[in-house]
């Protein structure tokens, strides 16, 4: 019951005059059983650490953090994601006031970090982490480190003590250096360089300096920190951003809530600082989802005792049976927020195809359809075939034995027991001989609502946005056909105010965004017709034509191969598009391009997914995009991508190549009620013209995958919810 973590008394303990004891813990309240314990706190770089120095610990797996710190005119905003139990990545946007050099008043920059946990803390050994800070290019924060951290409990004082020591290179080796073990030829920071490229040549080069720190977590709320910093802050002090008088930093932190921690500090003998730390875990929803309890299964009477209830007479013809089943199920599915599309039934087997606008997890929808079927289908039907459909694309067939559902509903371990008895099959493109729900087409819908379109990292104004009203219209004349449009009226905005016109050696395929914003106050954002269908049971196809996005119009065609239980999917997309006029009405500019990609998608398991797109981009450049993402079963996705094309770093301009991060969060995670929509953002350090892709509405992969085996299994307990 009591976890053993013994450790030797160290020099630090002698200094403090206390004895260090094993870390012991107490019985835990079940209400907190899924809460993350032993979370490291964040430093001014938004990484696990002390104050300005890093520590040797890793965040809990999947943890997503935001750190905002400020001292001496320096602000750092950092997103960190613990992508695997041992690897984390950070994206940072910083501003340094009073720079007054290199053409900047305030110097703003983006940087990426990556950290590797080399050793997890044990009873005798500390946690050990290797970190590369600002590792892409000659960034201002470039530095490498190895840090070790060990936890102790104290005998005579409450709380726990965390002791960290490490070695730093680059920025973290600039003060109190003790040598240069791997060579001294480290290139310096060059403001205005295109940057963006891996700085492997400089890693661990130059001076190395030790750093250290202690963190005393006095109780659940209060923590005190002190550290010895190895950062000389040379670029800043040289430009008089602040005066560094000491190597020691001190601070106090307060845990306001489970997610939020605030800290106040005294740094470098001259500056006061603050740090806001926000930690979330995608696996722990802010509001747990509450679904109305489903009606329990209606259990059929035993066949021996009631042979007449198992009579097949009701299904004299498939047509009559299918029609009866369809009519009985339509209202039951409607009550669950689901729409019956078609049904086909014999005396022993019924197939139901339906669409789902309510539940993010398809498994919940499948479970609710199965319950509706058990309620109304005569006892002779033993096999349920349930097919989720996304706009005429039948995703998969989930096959249940009715007896399994009846028997397992209240059984121990019902989730796994049902999973091993369920079959996932390909869904045929259509269901010949079915009874179709004739009320579905044509269908017209509309909505009016606000929109906000953000723009990040303008050197003059780091966050810009346009806000307005949008009108969406959608008409579906027949299954698989969509005619849709979006009109926008901008009300406020400052994206168009941007006066910086960055030069581009390429056709200006994306860098005219400010002009589109300025001249398109009343605009036709999209207007297109599309058709999608399944040519074969594992093939999906789409053709779209019209004004596809605000900058391009044309035609787009896509074919995707994705067997229902396969981790691999392959796709091809070909587009011919013309650049739209800045006013985003019906006219076009002179530039047109044939662009398209061959894509491979792979689900590695445990939610890790990869996508490789090879092809021609909007500026006519040829290359490939690699995207790696971690997707949680509840729909949270965090990932990153980069694109390399035949455009040279110089021609590409700032950043050298296209890259960015993607975050997507399901709304139900915040709201605690069923909701399919998500909120998200793709953030690029900078948008240039190289490696730019077309945005096409309704790409196939995401439409198809949500109802395939991997996705259904990830939420399988939802079948019973």
């Amino acid at each position: 019951m009591i976890r053993k973590r013994t450790s030797k008394i160290t020099g630090m303990a002698a200094v403090l005059g206390v004895t260090l004891a094993p870390l012991s813990t107490h019985a835990q309240d079940p209400a907190q059983m899924f809460e993350m314990r032993d979370r490291p706190t964040l430093n001014f770089y938004g990484s696990p650490g002390i104050i300005d120095m890093p520590s040797g610990e890793a965040l809990p797996d999947g943890q997503f953090t935001l750190g905002v710190s400020h001292f001496g005119g320096i602000t750092r905003n950092t997103l960190t994601f613990q992508a695997t139990p041992r690897i984390s990545a950070s994206f940072r946007y910083n501003g340094i006031q009073d720079w007054n050099d290199d053409g900047f008043g305030t110097y703003r920059d983006r940087s990426f970090d990556v950290r590797f946990l080399l050793h997890r803390e044990t009873s005798s050994l500390p946690a050990l982490t290797l970190g590369l800070q600002d590792f892409a290019g000659t960034g201002i924060y470039a530095g490498e480190y190895v840090a070790a951290t060990k936890n102790f409990t104290l005998n005579r004082v409450p709380g726990t003590l965390k002791v960290t020591g490490g070695l730093g290179w680059g920025r973290l080796g600039s003060s109190g250096a003790i040598g240069a073990p791997f060579g001294s030829d480290r290139p310096g920071f060059v403001p205005g360089d295109t940057g963006g490229e891996l700085g492997a040549g400089q890693w661990f080069r130059g001076d190395v300096a030790p750093f250290a720190g202690v963190e005393w977590q006095v109780n659940n709320k209060l923590g005190l920190k002190a550290e010895y910093s190895s950062d000389a802050y040379r670029p800043e002090t040289r430009r008089s951003v602040f005066t560094r008088k000491s190597r020691f930093n001190f601070g106090a932190e307060y845990q306001v809530s489970n997610a939020i921690r605030l800290g106040a500090y005294y740094l470098y003998g001259s500056e006061l600082g603050v740090n806001v730390q926000v930690q979330l875990n995608p696996r722990r929803p802010i509001s747990p989802l509450r679904l109305p309890a489903p009606r329990p299964y209606d259990i059929r009477p035993a066949r021996n005792a009631n042979p007449q209830t198992y009579s097949a007479d009701w299904a004299a013809s498939t047509e009559a049976a299918s029609t009866a089943v369809r009519d009985a199920l339509i209202p039951l599915l409607e009550a669950e927020g689901l729409t019956l599309i078609e049904a086909r039934s014999t005396a022993r087997e019924t197939e139901v195809r339906f669409s789902n606008q309510r539940y993010a997890a398809r498994s919940v929808a499948v479970g609710r359809v199965a319950r509706a079927m058990a309620r109304v289908l005569p006892a002779s039907v033993e096999t349920f075939r349930i097919v989720p459909v996304e706009n005429d694309l039948a995703q998969s067939t989930v096959v249940f034995r009715r007896a399994d559902l009846e028997r397992l509903e209240l059984a121990p371990d019902s989730t796994n027991a049902l999973l091993v008895r369920t079959r996932f099959q390909e869904a045929a493109p259509g269901l010949p001989g079915s009874a179709y729900n004739d009320d579905l087409f044509p269908d017209f819908s509309w909505s009016i609502g606000p929109y906000l379109s953000p723009s990040y990292f303008d050197p003059d104004e780091p966050f810009r946005a346009d806000v307005g009203v949008k009108l969406n219209l959608r008409y579906q004349p027949a299954p698989g056909w969509v005619i849709a449009g979006e009109l926008r009226q901008q009300l406020f905005g400052n994206i168009g105010d941007s006066t910086r016109i960055a030069p581009s050696a390429l056709p200006r395929v994306r860098t005219d965004a400010a002009r589109y914003s300025r001249e398109g106050e009343t605009s036709l954002n999209r207007l297109y017709v599309s058709r999608q269908w399944k040519p074969r049971e594992d093939l999906y196809a789409r053709v779209t034509a019209g004004y596809l996005e605000r900058m391009y119009g044309g035609v787009s065609a896509e074919v995707l191969w994705k067997p229902v239980a396969s981790r691999l999917a392959l796709g091809v997309e070909a587009n011919y598009v013309k650049q739209r006029d800045f006013d985003q009405r019906f006219g076009f500019r002179d530039y047109s391009v044939a662009t398209g990609h061959a894509s491979a998608y792979y689900e590695f398991g445990n939610g890790y997914t990869g996508q490789l797109d090879v092809g021609r981009y909007l500026a006519g450049d040829v290359g490939a995009t690699l995207t790696l993402e971690r997707e949680f079963s509840n729909g949270w996705r965090v990932g990153g991508f980069f694109t390399l094309t035949d455009v040279s770093a110089d021609d590409f301009g700032e950043g050298s190549f296209d890259k960015g991060i993607k975050i997507e969060v399901p709304l139900s995670w915040f709201l605690g009620k069923p909701e399919r929509r998500t909120v998200g953002a793709t953030i690029r350090p900078i948008q240039r013209d190289g490696g730019a892709r077309l945005y096409v509405p309704g790409r196939l992969y995401e439409q198809v995958r949500s109802g395939h085996r991997q996705a259904l299994e990830g939420n399988w307990s939802g079948v019973w919810e």
């Binding site: 835990q28 209240l410 121990p412 609502g449 406020f492 709304l667 605690g672 307990s717």
Partner: protein, 233 residues
């Protein structure tokens, strides 16, 4: 700073813009959905914790169907659940589904809570064979208790506990205006993700019929403990 104010104003306008659409709730505008959620959360917080209901002899006399009084300790208040399903499994155990007035459910197997629905972070299923056998035998026992618990996002986790079940002896309990001779069993469990989570369930088993007349059982991370009184079987 002016830009910050500017953006703040833009956000405020965006949030107050009424969103509307042609049809179903699924297509409601986001601001409407979010505002609705906030309103109900604030209303729930203001309402505070309600007292549990004291059942009077008259109320009991007028109850003609099976009724289970549930007093959630954390949420407060009381609810009276109806039995909506009852079936014997292949092991001869009696499984029951009880439904609350707000469409939440409790699954009981021989009086032991083995599932919840619609209460949030639900218990999807539970392997409770040790305590079920102990209730049957009114004796002490040791065994494993396993819960599949919803994370509140359509994913679930299996948590395992080591449990000791102790017979605390005969106890007379008083419900409404009647007294009952019972055997008091306590199931003390330790385990869970950290290995240090403790759960303790109490059962008052009727000496005569072996029915669980009253209990206090854990109903999931968000629900905490429920006191349950079988008013009428």
């Amino acid at each position: 700073m002016s830009s910050v104010r500017h953006i703040g104003m833009m956000m405020a306008v965006a949030a107050t813009l009424a969103a509307c659409s042609s049809d179903s709730s699924e297509r409601k505008g986001l601001p409407t959905v979010i505002a609705g959620t906030l309103k109900s959360a604030i209303a729930a917080r203001r309402a505070g914790k309600a007292e549990s209901t004291q059942v009077t002899p008259k109320m009991l006399a007028e109850t003609k169907i099976a009724a289970l009084q549930v007093n959630p300790e954390r949420a407060g208040g009381s609810d009276f659940l109806r039995r909506i399903a009852q079936r014997r499994d292949s092991n001869g155990m009696l499984n029951e589904v009880w439904q609350s007035s707000d469409s939440a459910q409790i699954f009981l197997r021989n009086g032991v809570l083995v599932g919840t629905r619609g209460v949030g972070t639900d218990i999807i299923s539970s392997d409770a064979s040790a305590i079920i056998r102990a209730v049957d035998a009114k004796g002490s026992r040791r065994g494993t208790r396993r819960y599949v618990v919803s994370d509140g996002d359509n994913t679930s986790e299996t948590v395992t506990f080591r449990c000791a079940i102790d017979n605390l002896g005969q106890e007379g309990i008083f419900i409404v205006n009647q007294s009952f001779d019972t055997v008091h069993l306590r199931e003390t469990c330790i385990g869970g993700p950290s290995g240090e989570v403790s759960i303790s369930n109490d059962y008052w088993v009727l000496s005569q019929s072996g029915l669980v007349k009253k209990s206090r059982q854990w109903a999931g991370p968000a629900s905490g403990y429920f006191e349950m009184i079988l008013l009428k079987n």
